[in-house]
């Protein structure tokens, strides 16, 4: 068997092992509350502003595209509903995924990678402290939490952006927009979006932690690790998004 294939297989295996380790260590005392709060704050601080800034134009694009399409189909009365559906179900988990992986994951990977090459991780292990429990678990939970909250933020900002573009710029009627909100969209759409965001946060955290912990070869190794972690996370997130969406449509009956 060729060695790159073996390497890829081994890498994925180790990544799953790390995820398993992190899951097991989550329930091991003492839980690192302080580290988790710090990491949540850290990940939030690197993602909040870009997320808000990305979600405004994203909401606008959806409003324009969907608005145009709905008008062509002659279903103006459903314009608010379609915008909400598009934002809450699909757009906001995707934006969250991009930001969690691109901003949060890369920061976590760079942090762990530089610790790794400075032998800090080794030192921690030698001091009898399990780095998975001490460092990885708080990061995974922090990114899941921040993913959840970011998804809420993106949904709100996206819907407001859509409203603004539809009503103010495209001359839609506020009443129709608001009244049709619940015509097609339903509460499970929001839950599905939040579940996606949490899963994305967990995937991004595990991948970036794995890549960070296996950085090697000096400062260049850290750069490579960050690059790989972002690329791998993107691929996995879009794939996971597809799976989750398919499962959601099978599991939850749609309105109308």
């Amino acid at each position: 068997m060729s060695s790159p294939l073996m390497g890829a297989l081994r890498g994925s295996g180790e990544m799953f092992a790390l995820a398993g380790d992190a899951l097991r260590s989550t329930f091991r005392r003492p839980f690192q509350w302080k580290e988790m709060v710090q990491q949540s704050w850290f990940v939030a601080s690197v993602t909040i502003l870009p997320t808000a800034l990305v979600s405004i134009p994203f909401g606008a694009v959806i409003a324009l595209q969907v608005g145009g399409l709905v008008r062509q189909l002659g279903a103006q009365s459903f314009i608010g509903s379609t915008a909400v559906l598009a934002v809450v179900r699909e757009a906001s988990p995707i934006v969250t995924a991009l930001l969690i992986a691109g901003a949060g994951g890369s920061a976590v990977c760079a942090d762990l990678g530089s610790r790794k090459i400075r032998e800090e991780i080794d030192a921690m292990e030698v001091l009898g402290i399990n780095p998975v429990q001490r460092l990885i678990v708080p990061r995974v939970l922090a990114m899941m939490l921040v993913g959840l909250l970011l998804n809420g933020l993106v949904s709100v900002v996206g819907v407001i952006g859509g409203y603004f573009f539809n009503v103010v710029l495209q001359g839609g009627t506020p009443g129709a927009y608001l009244a049709s909100f619940t015509a097609l969209a339903q509460l499970p759409d929001l839950w599905a979006g939040e579940v996606k965001a949490v899963v994305f946060g967990a995937i991004a955290a595990v991948v970036s932690s794995y890549k960070g912990l296996h950085a090697g070869g000096g400062p260049k190794g850290v750069g490579d690790a960050v690059n790989q972690s972002v690329v791998i996370t993107f691929m996995l997130l879009f794939f996971a998004n597809f799976i989750l969406t398919a499962v959601y449509f099978q599991a939850v009956p749609q309105k109308g």
């Binding site: 530089s114 610790r115 400075r118 032998e119 800090e120 080794d122 030192a123 921690m124 292990e125 030698v126 001091l127 009898g128 402290i129 399990n130 001490r134």
Partner: protein
């Protein structure tokens, strides 16, 4: 009292590249040992294997009644508490200041109050001469200070075994001498088993009770210092005396042709330099684990080179920086059994 570390048949390779094979020796409890070897012979890899950071391909590392190579992860974390390790660059946590770095193991592993932690941390920082620098971040201090802070952190849980990864690399001769003195003093006070990995022959000649040497993917020799310092084995002799002629070349090992040429050219190895006295603890009293000078030679019928074990020889010959011995002036001549030695005043 320190703990013995038994190493048996240890082998390590990365892929097809063999680092070393079949390494067997025992670190005697409470004694200072040095592991020597030319650069790139896997000395640091060896240390990482001993503390279980790397897994050897085969072999046995016995610490207490635990085999580090095959034990469970839980046992590994338990056994690591016996170890204190100084990494090459100190491996301090970059986000914490020196105080928090040294306090870290105490806070993680003990339920001591902040006051007790403070007392212990300040004591250890004082021991390595860093009192007053505790608020600095690792990025703000010199390499030597990082090393000393790393030692303070390694000491803070009162380990039974301390491993030093090149404590003298990148330090000036004075700091190296002070650091060596610190190591000897620590051993005298705490009776800890110590292993120093280095390629500084000056340290190797003066500090340890035992010397081991890695060369050519195996352990060339391990034994009491006098055994290696009087050894005629070409590799050991060349390395410990920093000579150009011998089996070690610029590219790890010379090939057979070059060696044959050297022999044809009739290059005679210079005579062995005298075996110097060991570095004594600051109080001048021999460490509990220290053997009287010349004992091994007498027991094994080896005649040490002339001038050996005399008080004021300077150390290593050759181009290494000369270090004045740091045994302080003593008020009373120390006793070694019934035999008196070392009472001369230096400096």
């Amino acid at each position: 009292m320190g703990v013995e570390v038994q190493i048996e048949g240890l082998s390590k390779s990365f892929g097809r590249q063999v680092i070393w094979e079949n390494v067997t020796f025992t670190l005697p409890a409470g004694e200072i040992s040095v592991l020597l070897g030319p650069s790139g012979t896997g000395k640091s890899v060896f240390l990482k294997c001993v503390v279980g950071l790397l897994k050897p391909n085969s072999g046995f590392i016995g610490v207490g009644d635990v085999d580090v190579v095959s034990c469970s992860e839980k046992d590994l974390y338990e056994v690591r508490r016996l170890f204190g390790v100084l990494f090459q660059d100190g491996a301090l946590f970059g986000s914490m200041n020196l105080y928090d770095n040294v306090a870290f193991p105490l806070r993680e592993h003990t339920r001591k109050s902040e006051r007790e932690v403070r007392q212990i941390v300040m004591e250890k920082l004082d021991m390595v001469g860093l009192a007053g620098s505790e608020k600095l971040l690792p990025g703000e201090i010199s390499g030597g200070m990082r090393k000393r802070a790393g030692i303070a952190r390694a000491l803070v849980l009162d380990p039974e075994i301390i491993l030093f990864d090149e404590p003298d690399s990148g330090l000036d001769p004075v700091r190296t001498a002070l650091l060596n003195q610190l190591i000897v003093d620590l051993n005298a006070q705490t009776d800890t088993t110590m292993l120093i990995v280095t390629h500084d022959i000056n340290t190797a000649r003066t500090v340890p009770d035992n010397i081991g040497m890695l060369y050519h993917r195996r352990l060339a020799m391990f034994g009491p210092r006098e055994m290696l310092l009087t050894s005629q084995e070409p590799v050991v002799r060349q390395f410990l005396n920093a000579q150009r002629h011998g089996p070690i070349g610029m590219a790890e090992e010379k090939d057979a042709d070059e060696l044959a040429q050297e022999q044809l050219a009739g290059i005679k190895l210079p005579p062995l330099p005298p075996v110097v006295l060991q570095l004594m603890p600051s109080d001048g009293r021999p460490r509990p684990s220290q053997h009287p000078p010349g004992e091994w030679c007498r027991r094994n019928g080896v005649t040490p080179p002339p001038g050996s074990f005399e008080g004021d020889v300077t150390t290593a010959p050759g181009p290494v920086p000369r270090e004045t011995r740091t045994v302080p002036a003593l008020a009373d001549p120390p006793l070694y059994g019934e035999q008196q030695y070392g009472g001369r005043h230096h400096g």
